[in-house]
């Protein structure tokens, strides 16, 4: 099935088998837990922001190949980025996954063009769009990141 191969691209399986930035950071890093009650997937995100820049990030937790590879890909993508850039990435990533959303289709909204190139390797997760139930897996780490950024101590 072509859709399945789109979902489980080699790069995703690679990040699932060999997750990047695995582990947890000590304080003053911010630690946030994300949780998908439907399937039990967990992401533990440790985020160290210095001078408005993601100085370090680690990912722990357990779950399916989509949630875990998404976390791994995310960690690689945001490391060294500014908080603003990270927020931009969250928005772009979510946009990529919401193109197939009922809301958009129903209301006849024009699909917002997403600059896939700006997503780099993250674009590999685009195949999830065809599997609505798995979108929550793909966005888990990103929602957790958004929460983590909100919880950063005011600098």
């Amino acid at each position: 099935m072509a859709d399945l191969e789109e979902l489980y691209r080699e790069i995703i399986l690679d990040h699932y088998r060999n997750p990047r930035n695995r582990g947890e950071l000590q304080p003053p890093a911010v630690r946030v837990e994300g949780f998908n009650p439907l399937c039990g997937d967990e992401i533990v995100l440790s985020l160290l922001v210095e001078d408005g820049t993601v100085a370090d990030v680690k990912i722990a937790g357990s779950g399916c190949s989509i949630s875990q590879s998404s976390g791994s890909l995310m960690s690689a993508a945001i490391k060294g980025k500014t908080v603003e850039q990270a927020r931009g990435l969250i928005a772009t990533f979510k946009q990529m996954l919401s193109l197939g959303d009922d809301d958009a289709i129903e209301e006849g909204a024009e699909p917002v063009p997403v600059n896939l190139r700006s997503l780099g390797e993250l674009a590999a997760l685009q195949g999830v769009v065809k599997f609505p139930v798995r979108i929550k897996c793909a966005t888990l780490s990103w929602n957790t990141l958004a929460q983590g950024l909100d919880e950063l101590p005011a600098s």
Binding site: D102, D103, F131, P132, V133, R134
Partner: protein
């Protein structure tokens, strides 16, 4: 129901298989939509098709039919939200088992969390038991005060002391349309006055939603409950709509699978959103049927439905008055835009039960009894009425058969 532009009664009737059946050899004249409406074939077929081609449990499966079942179930939330004028049905529509459970949920979740001894809520004397008993049960546990809006001789709400009643109250919970009197209450102004007094407002829209446009945003209400089986949808499902901010702050009601984030031996963490209130396998087939009912009513247009039933109600009120004068009484306000299609008939010396029994032999389906509104019945001083209530499939010919059958009843007992 293809190509209906204006309200086309004959076309509507063709959608309701039960109307082509006979009752005691006569055309069936179904005048009991206030108790439960007939489902059109569109609803029946949607449910059967779902069961035969898609059924699976929702929310967890990743296989094709489970994804589709989940999509249809969540789509029903959006359909209902849109139908009610809610901005985000997916965050505001909770599926219960009926309208009654919706009020129990409201009382035991919002009520338990927000009411204390010394607090007060306001109900009216024309409420259905569904909007009385849950509050009385909660009152037993918490000891707050229940205040009652009375009823005028014109069978409308007695609002003369409303400011007093609302003073310090936390909630006004009130029916939009009386299931006994046909009184249509002035919800917009009640909402305004409740809010001005610092109270929230919940409306029982069981008898409103099937008969006229209802828009929670325009009405500016906080909670709304209704019963799909009274709006041409299936049994086994009910709806509580609540403003998202309020719903998000409400503690869980029933416990079990689906409403949790986590369970440990020593406790649980509840889920967010409408799911927090949907413990266990939800009414999936029924949600599909409800979607179909919403689409059906949308295709007719609720304005057209309302106009049709308004005209029919006027015809019925004037015909009954002309035919029977004072030998039968109708418990309800006189004709006008705030008069819904509910005719509560009492006849001196003939009990409602007997009226309904004789009407049945003419194929006429009406309901005798207290209509789950005993406090109202006491206020009216009757122990039962024979209630004829209209739906979209009723026409003046139905009223004419009703008149014929009522004449026969009076003759028999005369």
């Amino acid at each position: 129901m293809e190509g209906v532009t204006e309200f086309d009664l004959a076309a509507v009737r063709r959608d309701f298989p039960l109307l082509s059946k006979q009752l005691h050899g006569r055309r069936i004249v179904y005048l009991d939509s206030g108790a439960s409406a007939l489902p059109p074939h569109q609803v029946v077929t949607a449910m059967a098709t779902y069961q035969e081609t898609t059924h699976a449990n929702v929310h967890r499966g990743v296989y094709g039919t489970a994804e589709e079942a989940t999509r249809l179930y969540e789509l029903a939330r959006k359909d209902v939200g849109r139908f009610l004028g809610s901005k985000s049905g997916q965050d505001e529509v909770v599926f219960t088992k009926n309208c009654t459970e919706a009020f129990n949920l409201l009382a035991r979740s919002w009520g338990r969390a927000n009411l204390r001894a010394g607090d007060a809520i306001v109900l009216s004397e024309m409420e259905h038991h569904a909007n009385i008993v849950p509050w009385q049960q909660l009152q037993e546990m918490l000891g707050f005060e229940i205040r009652w809006i009375g009823i005028t001789e014109e069978r409308t709400l007695d609002l003369s002391n409303l400011d007093e009643l609302l003073d310090g109250a936390k909630l006004l919970s009130i029916t939009a349309t009386s299931n006994v009197l046909g009184t249509v209450n002035p919800i917009t102004s009640l909402a305004e006055r409740a809010h001005a007094a610092g109270a929230l407002i919940a409306i029982d829209a069981a008898q409103a939603v099937p008969h006229a446009p209802v828009d929670v945003t325009a009405l500016d209400v906080d909670f709304l409950a209704f019963s799909p089986h009274k709006m041409y949808g299936p049994t086994g499902i009910g709806v509580l709509w609540a403003r998202a901010e309020l719903l998000n702050a409400m503690p869980p009601f029933l416990g079990g699978g689906g409403m949790i984030k986590d369970v440990r031996l020593d406790g649980f963490i509840p889920a967010d959103g409408p799911q927090r209130f949907e413990a266990g396998t939800p009414p999936i087939t029924e949600a599909v049927g409800l979607s179909a009912a919403v689409h059906y009513l949308e295709s007719l247009g609720m304005e057209a439905v309302h106009e049709h039933e308004r005209a029919l109600t006027s015809y019925a009120l004037s015909t009954l008055a002309a035919e029977f004068g004072s030998s039968i009484s109708l418990q309800g306000p006189t004709d006008g835009p705030l008069r819904a299609g509910v005719l509560s008939i009492t006849i001196d010396g003939i009990h409602a039960h007997d009226v309904a029994q004789i009407l049945d032999t003419y194929g006429v389906c009406v309901r005798p009894g207290h209509h789950c509104a005993k406090p109202l019945m006491r206020r009216l001083g009757v122990n039962a009425t024979a209630r004829a209530s209209f739906g979209i499939y009723n026409g003046t010919d139905d009223v004419d058969v009703l008149v014929e059958a009522l004449h026969a009843t009076i003759k028999m007992f005369g």
